[in-house]
């Protein structure tokens, strides 16, 4: 929050969840919010991110407790399933609500 009594609406921007706010992570979270779970390949195809890029963002989201990463084997092939945690779902929902409020009355 602003300490010098600035515009309260604008000072709210500083409080945005920066982990969710990053465009690539926002895309990952938006997709995982509407589905139950997906693997790496599906996320790459849907978001258009590269393997390395996706991997880095997944680590960040996992570190924040927003993402659950489950490693298993399907036959001989390792498989990584990703899903949002309850905390992750709440973070995305709160972020979306906040953005809606922030840009409620944009002048034409």
């Amino acid at each position: 929050m602003s300490e010098n009594g600035g515009n309260p609406s604008l000072s709210d921007l500083a409080d945005l969840n920066r982990i969710v706010h990053e465009p690539a992570r926002l895309a990952i979270m938006a997709l995982l919010y509407v589905i139950e779970s997906a693997d790496f390949t599906f996320l790459i195809n849907q978001t258009g991110l590269t393997w390395g890029n996706l991997s880095a963002h997944i680590s960040k989201l996992e570190g924040a407790g927003y993402l659950e990463v489950e490693k298993s084997f399907k036959g001989k092939r390792p498989s990584t399933t990703l899903r949002l945690t309850t905390q992750g779902r709440k973070a995305f929902h709160d972020y979306a609500q906040r953005m809606k409020q922030l840009f409620k009355d944009v002048p034409a």
Binding site: A30, Y33, V34, E36, D39, F40, T41, F42, N45
Partner: protein, 217 residues
């Protein structure tokens, strides 16, 4: 300019992307062809053996479809599990198809009973005077059963091409029964398959197998 994120649209696009491989089109098209090849026998008419071979060919086709999904689509497209709304839709589809099957069995049972019963048979014969009209009624009922079932599947599966496939399948069944010729369903089956083959080729080009994809890490 950026478009606003529509989460319902994100989910719908993700779901419909699972149909990009064209395997459904190929499966339904081959199903129509198998139906024409195995059930149509001008010399001996319809018999149990034809029905058994057709059912076996349907099972084989489903096996091929499943293998295609497992070995072609999933390694390229990735695996996904959709949310509660989709699962509810699948359950509803299962219930509706179950009711459909019961209605179909009822219609077939009632027809057999009616024709076997001399009194009802006489009444029916007074309405249906020529064998041509009988064929017309059977062809209409058959195409209605197949068409509506496929349209319901298309609606609940969000499979847009399914509506077109449903209409084509209904037409195939109608022509096969009414004109008593297998060539029409074979041609219609091929027409259903062709876009599927094009989609499959495009899918293989768009989603090549990645080295990373094999490890999926």
């Amino acid at each position: 300019m950026m478009n606003p994120i529509n989460l319902k649209e994100v989910e719908r696009k993700a779901f419909r992307s699972t149909y990009q491989d064209g395997l459904w089109d190929i499966y339904w098209g081959l199903l129509v062809i198998c139906m024409a090849l195995f059930i149509y026998r001008p010399a001996d008419g319809y018999n149990a053996w034809n029905t058994i071979t057709m059912a076996l060919s349907f099972l084989l086709l489903y096996g091929l479809f499943w293998a295609g999904k497992k070995y072609i689509t999933l390694p390229r497209m990735g695996q996904v599990s959709f949310g509660a709304v989709r699962k509810k839709k699948t359950r509803t589809l299962g219930i509706i198809l179950g009711v459909f099957v019961l209605i179909h069995v009822g219609v077939v049972g009632l027809s057999i009973y009616s024709w076997a019963n001399p009194e009802v048979s006489t009444i029916l014969s007074s309405f249906i005077k020529s064998p041509r009209s009988e064929l017309l009624i059977v062809a209409s009922i058959g195409s209605l059963i197949v068409g509506t079932s496929m349209l319901v599947i298309a609606y609940f599966s969000d499979f847009l091409r399914g509506f077109y496939i449903g209409v084509m399948m209904a037409l195939a069944v109608f022509l096969m029964i009414y004109l008593n010729q297998p060539i029409y369903p074979i041609v219609i089956g091929t027409v259903i398959i062709l876009p599927g083959v094009v989609l499959l080729m495009r899918f293989l080009k768009t989603y090549p197998l990645h080295k990373e994809g094999l490890s999926n890490e």
